[in-house]
């Protein structure tokens, strides 16, 4: 697996049926084990990009490889390696917290014994043990966010897509999640994070891509970007690249 990028996206194009061009030939490579941030304004194409990798969106053209596996031709292998914590809460209302974890593992082919073991570990890690028998639709927003996060890790993915993982989360939980994400990354998990919180990207990501109007507008480490745009922080870079001169 050495040298094979975790994610290799080439010339990905996606036009919605409304005529909106969401991705305009995006090419992107995320190295194995990297912590990669994808930043951009609403509607820039961040979620469409993630959805295109997991076939929730159907790209018009282009190719996607996950650790060398074609995301469409070898979709089973590719999808097994991806965990997604989506922006919108999408928990199955018929299930309890524990069932959510176990069913998710089953959807990814994880054997039952292994799934139970993994569920115990993640319930503990995300302080969900007391809520394990509770139906997910009765949980608070922050709790639901934790379940989403834990669910995405149930099948032990190699790449984790975190689409605005801290949206609507209180400060305490945000810092806890940051700590956990860092720990996962240092354990070798590749992470692709989309976020609106620029300080979050700066604090966590080794490499950042700015997406705007369906195109990658800039890419590099935060130090490289700051130097290239003569900025003091990522927020300034963002405003210069995406903000169309708002920064002055």
């Amino acid at each position: 697996m050495n040298g094979t990028p975790a994610l290799k996206i080439e010339k990905l194009k996606k036009t919605y049926s409304t005529g909106v061009l969401a991705l305009d030939g995006v090419s992107l490579e995320v190295g194995a084990g990297r912590f990669f941030g994808l930043l951009g304004p609403n509607g820039a194409g961040k979620t469409t990009l993630i959805n295109s990798v997991v076939s929730l969106a159907r790209p018009d053209s282009g190719s996607v490889e996950v650790f060398g596996k074609d995301a469409y031709e070898e979709f089973r292998e590719a999808r097994r390696m991806i965990g997604v914590s989506p922006q919108e809460i999408n928990l199955d209302k018929f299930l309890t917290v524990e069932e959510t974890m176990l069913f998710h593992a089953g959807y990814y082919g994880v054997p039952k014994d292994k799934a139970r073991e993994r569920a115990e570990e993640l319930l503990e890690r995300f302080a969900l043990v007391e809520k394990r028998k509770q139906r997910v639709n009765t949980l608070s927003g922050g709790m639901k966010r934790r379940v989403l996060f834990a669910r995405a890790l149930m099948h032990d993915p190699k790449v984790l897509f975190l689409d605005e993982p801290t949206a609507g989360v209180d400060v305490e939980l945000r810092y806890k999640l940051w700590g956990y994400i860092r720990e996962l990354n240092s354990g070798g998990l590749t992470i692709l994070l989309t976020t609106h919180y620029l300080e979050e990207a700066e604090a966590l990501c080794e490499e950042i891509a700015l997406i705007n109007g369906g195109k990658i507008a800039a890419q590099g480490t935060s130090a490289e970007l700051k130097e290239r745009y003569g900025a003091r922080n990522v927020e300034e870079v963002y405003l210069k690249v995406v903000g169309n001169g708002i920064a002055g």
Binding site: S17, L56, F75, K93, F94, F103
Partner: protein, 253 residues
Amino acid sequence: MLDRPFRTLLSREVLRFTRVWVQTLIPPLLTSLLYLVVFGVALGGRIKEISGIPYLEYILPGIALMNLVTGSQMNSSWSVFDAKRERYIDEVLIAPMSDFQIALAYSLGGTLRGVLMGAGVFLVGAPFVGLSVAHPGLLLLIGVLSAFAFSALGTMVGALATRIEHISFLTSVVIQPLAFLGGVFYSVEMLPEVLRIATLFNPIFHTVDAARYATLEISDLNPYPTVAVVFLLAALAFAGAWWAISRGPNLRY
């Protein structure tokens, strides 16, 4: 094809209707009991035997099939539509499962609920007419095929629906009238020529008629070609379900 991801989705479908069995299984059985009491016990005494069979016994297989068809169709259409509306279907769509497997799991979940409801009607009717079935194997075959056909139809409509009214339309405007006009309460031989021919185009009539043959050895049509017709319906409906899961609006966009 029947791998763990598929089996997990199927077991989730079963859990869905068994968890709320008070809502999903009991009310339809009570409704069936009412049909039996009103049409069979209260009015049945005033209705002549049909083809030498007491009226209550005559209508029982049809009521079972009516329940089976509506139960299986409602189960899948609501399950898929709910999952789509609240977006938890995304978890399934991005899992390592093919669209074929997803459509099959939803369709089989509804099939099981339909078969349980059909069997439940026979049990509810047992105290009134006994539990003798002339051809149990054929009854099971026709029951499973009919449930699968209508469950697959429900899966298709659930995947295609963009508003809750689309689901209600299928149940109230399409399935229920077809079920009532499907020869449950009468023999088509009793109908005027035009209505008799029109009934032949009603798929529920074919399932009811075959079930009646399997139970009582009387029918309006030869039951074996009917099995082929229902098989064809099931295949067509499943092709539609598969296509809809793959191409339906607001699923994979």
